[in-house]
């Protein structure tokens, strides 16, 4: 009996407790996406994107079929194998390459395919003249667009046109007193080998260092795109500390400062600011001959940045994220524009290696009072979530939880400012929200890191990239509806390994029998699928 069950709907079920599970995981990981990783059986899914990813990474159909046949417990449906082979054969029929005289050229080894795609209305505006029966010129500026379009048409192009080296700039890792962790090294190698792509690591697993490692490989000027200013500062801080770069070499390009240096850190917000119908800060992309572009939190990449990225196909691109799930379903754009997934590590695996803290996730269900129930029942649909998410009972529960974890560094995270202000007042804790100035934010975060403040109430501004290694308890009182990645990011705030190795706590306070509960179930899915089992607790149990 082997450890893998291949389902006809192209999911793979892997029994993790099986002795062959490790070998099997290594065999299937290149082409199958890990979809769920609960305690006993992990679910992988074979998708066209995953298969093409594997092709892009140099695997062929035979390896995939062999892996499936070798580890499968039951006979693999033949149709599935044929489908795998056919899907993989679609990749690389079209290649984008540099031609000495014609510039960027789309070449096909299969003439009918070329004919088929050239007949597509979406491809026509992107290509130039036909060079010969098997190749057609492509406007260099449309390199990203055409890749995106071809992927949608089901004929992903292999991009062999290479990358510009960019302006060289010496960058070295300064590994004194620390070293890249093995998985970080693998991630850097995977990325560098592939040219461009996305690295998926859990929150707190040191994605910044993967970025730094990539920069040290590129040794070229680098543009780093991050979510907000605080995060930009953290990147700068970390780069100065971990690499040969100095403060002067790193510029910040944000709402407040517009510095362009060999390494420039820009926020998505400033790039996507639109004035009079144009994006005034777009020139940043052309202001230097960047050798590497880093996208932090690639799952949040706003739509305009996708568009700009399409024009940057000649530069190496590295995307970093903890959760490559987008509620808008634009994963395929990430694949075609930034690149395929180059490295992925399950959360629980990193946890097992001790690089992130184990976490105890608890969903606390509170009851609405009778008056609230009536009010909830009659509330307008769009008001319902806000109403149940901010129920007064949650305050009591939050207070009880904070009291229970007295002495531990605690974050209270929520969506609604009124609720947070009220909680801040009752808990006697400072509140960080959108209107808090950056200086004030940094001051408060620093105080929290130093242990001067033990409870911090934060809005969604602290969802990402805020490095608070000391936080051990997070209490989520409300969220952005059913966002899975938000939940994961919030849990990520408390996953830095603790000095004494004790486990982190993540509480999600949820109003029972309301849509808050439905949203919570959806929010938890990503983490549940990563193997974080939520315990469910009644508020009464806690309050009594």
């Amino acid at each position: 009996m082997s450890c893998l069950i291949v389902q006809s709907d192209k999911t793979l079920l892997l029994e993790v407790d099986h002795e062959l599970a490790g070998a099997c995981r290594r065999a299937i990981a290149p082409f199958a996406e890990l979809e769920r990783a609960p305690e006993h059986i992990h679910t992988y899914r074979i998708t066209p994107l995953g298969l093409w990813n594997a092709r892009a990474a140099g695997h062929d159909a035979e390896q995939v079929v062999d892996a499936l046949v070798e580890f499968s417990r039951y006979p693999v449906p033949h149709a599935l194998l044929v489908d795998v082979a056919e899907t993989m054969a679609r990749y690389g029929r079209l290649t984008l390459s540099k031609h000495p005289t014609h510039g960027l050229v789309l070449t096909s080894t299969d003439r009918p395919v070329l004919e088929e795609i050239l007949r597509s209305k979406r491809v026509q505006p992107l290509v130039g003249e036909r060079i010969d029966a098997d190749s057609v010129a492509v406007h260099p500026s449309e390199r990203g667009q055409i890749k995106q379009t071809l992927l949608k048409l089901g004929w992903p192009a292999e991009d062999l046109a290479g990358y510009v080296d960019g302006e060289a700039h010496p960058i070295e890792l300064d590994e004194t007193g620390w070293a890249l962790r093995p998985y970080q090294k693998q991630a850097v190698e995977g990325f560098w080998h592939g040219g461009s792509g996305v690295v998926v690591l859990p929150c707190g697993a040191g994605k910044t260092l993967v970025g730094a490692g990539a920069m040290a490989q590129a040794k070229a000027t680098t543009l780093i795109l991050v979510t907000n200013t605080v995060s930009a500062r953290q990147w700068k801080h970390e780069l100065v500390k971990r690499t040969s770069l100095t403060e002067e070499e790193i510029g910040e390009y944000s709402g407040t400062r517009k510095e362009i240096r060999p390494v420039t850190i820009a926020t998505y917000q400033v790039l996507t600011t639109k004035r009079k119908g144009i994006y005034p800060h777009l020139e940043l992309f052309d202001s230097r001959d960047w050798g590497l572009i880093l996208y932090d939190e690639v799952h949040l990449l706003p739509a305009p940045v996708f568009k700009f990225t399409a024009d940057l196909q000649a530069r190496r691109r590295l995307g970093l994220t903890a959760t490559l799930v987008r509620e808008d379903g634009r994963e395929s754009d990430v694949f075609s524009l930034i690149g395929p997934k180059r490295f992925d590590a399950p959360w629980k695996e990193i946890e097992a290696q001790g690089y992130i803290a184990p976490a105890d996730c608890v969903e606390v269900r509170v009851n609405l009072t009778d008056a609230e129930r009536l009010a909830y029942a009659t509330a307008e649909t769009e008001e319902k979530y806000r109403f149940c998410a901010t129920t007064a009972t949650k305050r009591k529960v939050t207070e009880a939880l904070v009291a229970k974890h007295k002495g531990e560094q605690t974050l209270v995270i929520g969506q609604y400012i009124d609720q947070l202000d009220e909680l801040g007042e009752h808990l006697d804790a400072p509140v960080i929200k959108g209107e808090t100035s950056n200086a004030q934010r940094e001051k408060l975060f620093e105080a929290f890191r130093q242990g001067e403040i033990s409870v911090l109430v934060v809005s969604k501004v602290a969802n990402f990239s805020i490095d608070l290694p000391e936080a051990t308890v997070a209490i989520q009182v409300s969220g952005t509806f059913g966002s899975r990645q938000e939940e994961a990011q919030r849990l990520g705030r408390v996953l830095r390994p603790k000095a004494d190795g004790h486990e982190a706590r993540f509480y999600s306070v949820v109003a029972r029998d309301t849509i808050d509960q439905d949203f919570a179930a959806h929010r938890q899915r990503f983490l549940a699928e990563q193997g974080y089992a939520y315990r469910i607790m009644d508020a009464d149990e806690l309050l009594s």
Partner: protein
């Protein structure tokens, strides 16, 4: 039966009947086995058998069942002179140069034709049955499959003797005035290879090109009125003979000379071999094939079960024309997550296996049959064997679904018109051919199809309405005939059924076939139905036995996980699977099943009568690991809310703020028939209607008040009941009212006229005096008499008596005085009605003159 023939041994039989008479019993039995249609009804003697064997329908049937080489042999015989010796046949088949393979295969083909009574006579004078010769020999309208034209003799039959003389002279033969010997001379020249070669040596090269074009057929060529010199050269020498003013034909003898004596361009003496497919993914090993097929067998069972489970409480409606609507098929395909063609196949399979049928109600719907419930109790292998057996013997052809029938209507699944008799035979033959390959080897589909076409060339051709071509390339690229399509479907279906795995016959498929093949070989011999059934049941049992160890053992446990899923890492035991499919939603199917618990699914289980503690116990019993806390919580949470709201039916209620009073009413035994139940301290629900309840409570001595639906007290008023608007009754007087004068006058007149009509003494008609109609009977006369009589009456102004049938068909007698007769109408004064009326003549049944004194 002894030898019935009276023909002495050795001497040739003169008729087919004689030839049959000389056969022994075994040979006759072989004939009847090969052509079972000769047996219905059983012929009374051999002459009758011979006649029947020579009928066109029977011969066509026999020819259609010939393989390609036997057919080619028959075709060669059809172009050979009648009473051809065996050597002539050999020459035609193998050519002048000889062909060992053909010569080796020929005796078998001839023997086969003899067995089938298509050929008879000794080897020195082989005779093709006349009907077969007519069917196969070339005629101008239907060129022979050999591509040969008519003989010199046939082509010159209508030609003038002078023209024949010219030809003979041009061909360099001695002239003779006798056209018969002239033709014979020409034929002799054409059949003499040496002289013919010498003649052709003198031909211009363009003429040879022309011959080349016609040599393999079709032998006809169009010519202009003024042919080119090479054509003229050929025509002058009789190498081309005129077939019609604008066409010439290449005589058979010339063509045979050019073909070096061969009747067929490519004789195909041996069946094309079925080759193994080039190895595809995962080289075919028998174990792998069996495992794959077994996996697929399990999938097939799941598909059929899911389908019927879906229709558990009644399936979709039956179309008026029969079958399932396209929309329902789409829905089924969606439910199975497969294509419509596959869904159609599963439906037809379930139907063929008797698991699914229409319920026959007025509002006809599909539903599983009782046999389905029985089927479900079988072990997996048994269920599969039953399905496979049904598939193998069913003529239903699901591949046709969606294509159009002769009237342009598309065939619907489960509907009429999907039976194809060729299906069973082809299916079996495909599997047999697969079985001939080494174990674990898949067949290359094109070679398999080529083999099937070789075995039944005519069936393949006629089914597609195409003319058989002797060029193999044409055949390969020609329109796909029904048999080939069935064969292709069979391969796909066998794969989906798990009869084959990766294209190769699995061992359980082989077992299934083992007995079926035996049954097939005996199929042409009528066997007892029971015997056939026993044989196939035995095969099914064997196949099931072979399959059983290949199927995974059903499990009795699942793996529960904290993300509210359960994974069954293999097929589950039935009760477990059933309960689980109620308690959780199926998320993914295949070798394993993934279930997801949702509040909805748990509620479903609670609705089905399970309690929360039942569910906990069930999960604990079937999980190898502790039940995850979120799952237990989910069950408790749903159970907590389940049944929180209760809904029931009551006819009326009693409410009272005084709980004691309600206690009192409930305690009263007389209130029992009211069906009272306390649903709240101050409310009783009653099964009795409100008025009954009110009365009953009053009888009990209470003073209840009725309440309106808004809760207000209804004031009791005398209940006024009214009918809908009605008219008062009309008075019924003693007799009819006294008539007024006008009416009376009219009445008297009418009475008189009626009286006149019934009492007049009729004058006998001159022609038939005896035919005096009895009183009350309509007068009858022929139309001619009628016309003459009324015309005469119009002229004389006399009165006649007529029988008349009005537009409503009611007959009456009238006395009329005709005024005018024209255009088929009689205009007359009607004494009966007392007015001038017009009568169509054709409505008048007859006419009689009245006694003179009356008028």
């Amino acid at each position: 039966m002894g030898r019935m023939g009276t023909t002495p041994e050795g001497s040739s039989p003169r008729t087919l009947a004689e030839a049959l008479r000389s056969r022994d019993d075994g040979e006759l039995a072989a004939l009847l086995r090969a052509r079972p249609d000769l047996l219905s009804p059983v012929p009374s003697d051999l002459s009758q058998l011979a006649t029947r064997a020579g009928t066109r329908a029977s011969v066509v049937r026999a020819l259609e069942r010939l393989d390609r080489f036997a057919l080619q042999t028959a075709e060669a015989l059809a172009v050979a002179p009648d009473l051809a010796p065996y050597d002539a046949l050999v020459a035609l088949m193998a050519g002048d140069d000889g062909d060992e393979v053909v010569e080796a295969a020929l005796p078998r083909a001839v023997a086969l034709l003899r067995t089938q009574a298509l050929v008879w006579g000794g080897d020195d004078r082989l005779r093709l049955v006349r009907t077969a010769r007519e069917l196969l020999a070339p005629s101008p309208s239907r060129p022979s499959p050999t591509g040969l034209g008519p003989t010199v003799g046939e082509s010159t039959s209508g030609m003038s003797p002078g023209r024949i003389q010219q030809i003979i002279t041009a061909a360099g033969l001695t002239t003779t005035h006798d056209p018969v010997s002239a033709v014979a001379g020409l034929t002799a020249l054409f059949t003499d290879r040496d002289r013919m070669a010498a003649l052709l040596d003198t031909a211009p090269s363009e003429a040879l090109t022309v011959l080349d074009r016609l040599v393999w057929g079709p032998p006809y060529g169009e010519v202009t009125s003024n042919p080119t010199p090479p054509v003229r050269w050929l025509r002058d020498r009789g190498l081309l003979l005129p077939a019609s003013p604008r066409t010439v034909v290449l005589p058979r003898e010339v063509a045979l000379h050019l073909r070096a004596g061969r009747a067929h361009r490519v004789p195909e003496p041996v069946p094309p071999a079925v080759r193994a497919a080039p190895s595809a993914l995962g080289e075919g090993r028998p174990q792998l094939v069996d495992a794959t097929a077994a996996g697929q067998a399990l999938t097939a069972l799941t598909a059929v079960e899911d389908l019927l489970q879906d229709w558990h409480e009644g399936g979709p409606a039956v179309l008026r024309a029969g079958g399932l609507s396209v929309r329902d098929l789409k829905r089924a395909a969606m439910a199975l997550d497969t294509t419509e063609a596959m869904a159609a196949f599963w439906l037809e399979l379930a139907y063929a296996a008797g698991l699914l049928a229409s319920d026959g109600e007025t509002d006809e719907r599909y539903a599983p049959t009782p046999a389905y419930d029985e089927w479900l109790t079988l072990p997996s292998a048994g269920r599969w064997a039953q399905l496979a057996q049904a598939w193998l013997t069913s003529t239903r052809t699901s591949g046709l679904v969606g294509s159009l029938d002769g009237k342009g209507r598309s065939y619907s699944v489960l509907g009429p018109g999907l039976d194809r008799s060729a299906t069973v035979e082809t299916r079996l033959r495909v599997l047999e051919l697969l079985a001939e390959l080494p174990e674990g080897t898949a067949a290359a589909q094109d070679t398999l199809l080529a083999r099937l076409r070789w075995e039944r060339p005519l069936q393949a051709a006629t089914a597609a309405n195409t003319i058989t071509s002797n060029n193999p390339a044409d055949r390969a690229s020609g329109p796909i005939d029904l048999r080939s399509r069935i064969a292709a479907w069979t391969l796909a279906e066998a794969e989906s059924m798990g009869v084959t795995g990766r294209g190769a016959l699995a061992s359980h498929g082989r077992a299934l076939l083992g007995a079926s093949a035996a049954e097939h070989s005996g199929a042409t011999q009528p066997t007892h139905q029971a015997e056939v059934a026993a044989v196939s049941a035995e095969a099914a049992r064997k196949a099931a036995a072979v399959l059983t160890p290949l199927l995974p053992e059903p499990l009795d446990h699942v793996l529960l996980q904290a993300d509210l899923t359960a994974v069954a890492p293999g097929p589950l035991k039935r009760p477990l699977a059933e309960t689980l499919s109620v308690l959780a939603d199926v998320e993914s199917k295949g070798g394993a099943t993934v279930y997801r618990f949702t509040p909805g699914s748990v509620r479903r289980a609670l609705d089905a009568g399970r309690s929360a503690s039942d569910l906990h116990a069930f999960l604990a019993a079937h999980s190898r690991t502790p039940v995850p806390q979120p799952l237990s919580y989910l069950i408790d949470d749903v159970a907590r809310r389940h049944g929180h709201l209760r809904v029931g039916t009551a006819s009326a209620y009693v409410r009272c703020d005084d709980e004691a009073l309600l206690d009192e009413i409930l305690a009263d035994r007389r209130s029992q028939p009211l069906g009272l139940r306390r649903i709240a301290p101050t409310v009783l629900a009653a099964q009795a209607e409100a008025p009954v309840l009110l009365d009953a409570l009053r009888t009990l001595g209470y003073a209840p008040a009725a309440e309106s639906s808004e809760g207000a007290v209804l004031i009791a008023r005398a209940h006024a009941r009214r009918t809908p608007p009605r008219t008062p009754p009309a008075p019924v007087p003693d007799g009819p009212p006294v008539p007024n004068t006008t009416l009376l006058t009219a009445a008297v007149k009418a009475i008189r006229a009626g009286d006149l009509a019934s009492t007049v003494a009729l004058k006998p008609t001159p022609s038939e005096p005896a035919q005096q109609p009895a009183s009350g009977e309509l007068p009858r006369s022929t139309p001619a008499e009628t016309l003459a009589t009324v015309q005469a009456a119009a002229m004389t102004g006399s009165v006649v008596w007529i029988g008349y049938v009005n537009a409503e068909g009611s007959a009456s007698q009238r006395v009329i005085a005709p005024v005018r007769v024209e255009g088929g109408f009689v205009t007359a004064y009607d004494h009966t009605a007392d007015e001038v009326r017009t009568y169509p003549l054709h409505r008048i049944t007859g006419v009689a003159e009245l006694a003179d004194d009356v008028s």
